[in-house]
Symmetry: D3
Subunit: 132 residues, 6 copies
């Protein structure tokens, strides 16, 4: 694989609707998980009451989007064959979506980081199945 190829923008993305259109990408959940973390950081860095309120309410929305994107991947992308090869899949998605729910009532960035890490582990399974 050439350096040029490595530098190329990632052009392969993958199914996320039930057509199914076949374009799925755990990157969608990851972006929202990063936003959850960023909301906590903005909250901590400010003492403006309005901004803090908004950080909490936007964090709630973004955590919902993490859950939504992961649920879609779980039900729509992954197949029984994937599950056989990756038996930890159900538990992994369950824990990641539960962690996203827990982050709604936390202001500790470690809780947001946990969501990001779990999304990354789902992404590893995704990449493994996507190559196969």
């Amino acid at each position: 694989m050439s350096l040029r190829a490595l530098l190329r923008p990632r052009t392969v993305v993958h199914a996320h609707c039930d057509l199914p259109c076949g374009v799925y990408d755990p990157g969608q959940a990851r972006i929202e998980a990063l936003a959850v973390k960023a909301c906590m950081e903005k909250y901590a860095a400010s003492d403006d009451a309005q901004l803090r309120q908004r950080a909490v309410q936007i964090k709630e929305e973004r955590a919902n989007l993490v859950k939504q994107h992961l649920w879609v991947l779980w039900t729509d992308y992954f197949t029984p064959e994937h599950l056989t090869a990756h038996p930890q899949l159900h538990t992994l998605v369950w824990e990641a979506t539960k962690a996203a729910g827990a982050a709604k009532n936390s202001l500790d960035v470690a809780d947001a980081q946990k969501v990001i890490d779990l999304v990354d582990r789902i992404d590893e399974v995704f990449k493994a199945t996507n190559k196969a």
Copy 2:
């Protein structure tokens, strides 16, 4: 338990947001699954092109709501203790949401009935855990 008590409207319902407010009820998914089936029946009973198009598009929305309600139950209501007592839970929810997705591209009421039946099986687990 008296007859009067049995006839009383079911007043116990159970958590469906991440507060968590503690009001969850598989009946929400069931109503949408019945609507998916009803859309197929309306489609079959008519030869009006506009109504048929609308039946397909409303069926899509209702099947999405089945999935949404089941995902919320799965992540937000069920606990590791529930899973230990009901190890089939992950597979059951996965299959039910996959069945709801499949019903989007079907006009066979048997496919909608399958969704309803799977929701009923999740409801049995729900009732068992809810009493415990």
Copy 3:
């Protein structure tokens, strides 16, 4: 009617889209009204600022859903014949949706209970018309 029949899960539910699919059920509004009440209870039971903020914002959403479900029943399910038999219908739905709006700015569970009670009265009219 046998005891067995009474114990069976309620399988008849009724129209909630404009197809019309024919699946309507005041139980949808009731679940959301219970959630409004539960949000107030969670608020009262905690002194965590973030949880209290979230209780208020989730209560707002749930009260909107109560209104939405009742409006759909009012316009889509009820007919002129139902209105003749139950002339209090317009006032009842108007008051129930106004009560749901008022609960948004209240933390008094009596205000949430009022919404639940009004939903129950609409449910009585619904059941009467649904048998007819």
Copy 4:
């Protein structure tokens, strides 16, 4: 009242959220009702299958918005005093929202015009109450 005043952009608009923010305007429902009619006209003027499908699906959304805006006006803006002065209000809103629902399955512009006309009659009540 001067000509200049008449030519001025209409700056008084009126409550449409449950804060209540106090900005309500039946013009919102009217715009959507005009869109319902326009969708029917676009449908009739074309024989492209995709455009016709899209006209039907967008008409469905716009008719939903007509209903939504009218329901909000009904519950949130109008008061018991308004009802006493305008006892036809409940029936008028009920019929307007039912007409919007009916337009979803019609391609006859007369059905869309009926929605527009009913919105205009609600607007008359609105203007009368808004001056008082």
Copy 5:
């Protein structure tokens, strides 16, 4: 133009979906901008913590709707010919949507008024192009 014509309700409104249905009207953005301002006024006039929280969260939603309506006008209504005649258009819409975003974190009515004023300037361009 007669007085009677001036007094007539404004019946010409203009395209707001991508059919395109051809019903567009900057009045939609204006109503939401007025609501943003009203939320700030309600906030300032009250010292009830719940109402203040709700004012901030509803302001956020309404500011989003201002942006949404303006973006739709910008992309869907305006044409290259309009841009040639009104070269300030891109900057004007950009600044108006940025001002709506800024109002989310402000409680100063001057910031809401700035949004209203920018919507009015877009409305002037709209009216000029709509007559042409």
Copy 6:
């Protein structure tokens, strides 16, 4: 920069809400643009009427999401300094969102590819500004 660094998953993503949380990424628009194209391909590859209808309606939703993500980038991420350095920005975003609108009524993959290409050009500006 080492090979290892190049192989690392892209962890820098960038603001997409108005907090602002600071997580923005044109990849979100790109995923939806790929889905628009995939819907056209699924449509062309099938002669099942229901699937074809669903492909058109899902394409509509996905094209809306392309527009939404690009509008947010335009208003929320890009600054006057970015515009000075990249004066083509307004035109580029305008054309990309117009192309997404046009793809709604097209079944020609070239029209979807045009959207993808325009998103990629916006991504180039994004990357240039994001490094600066």
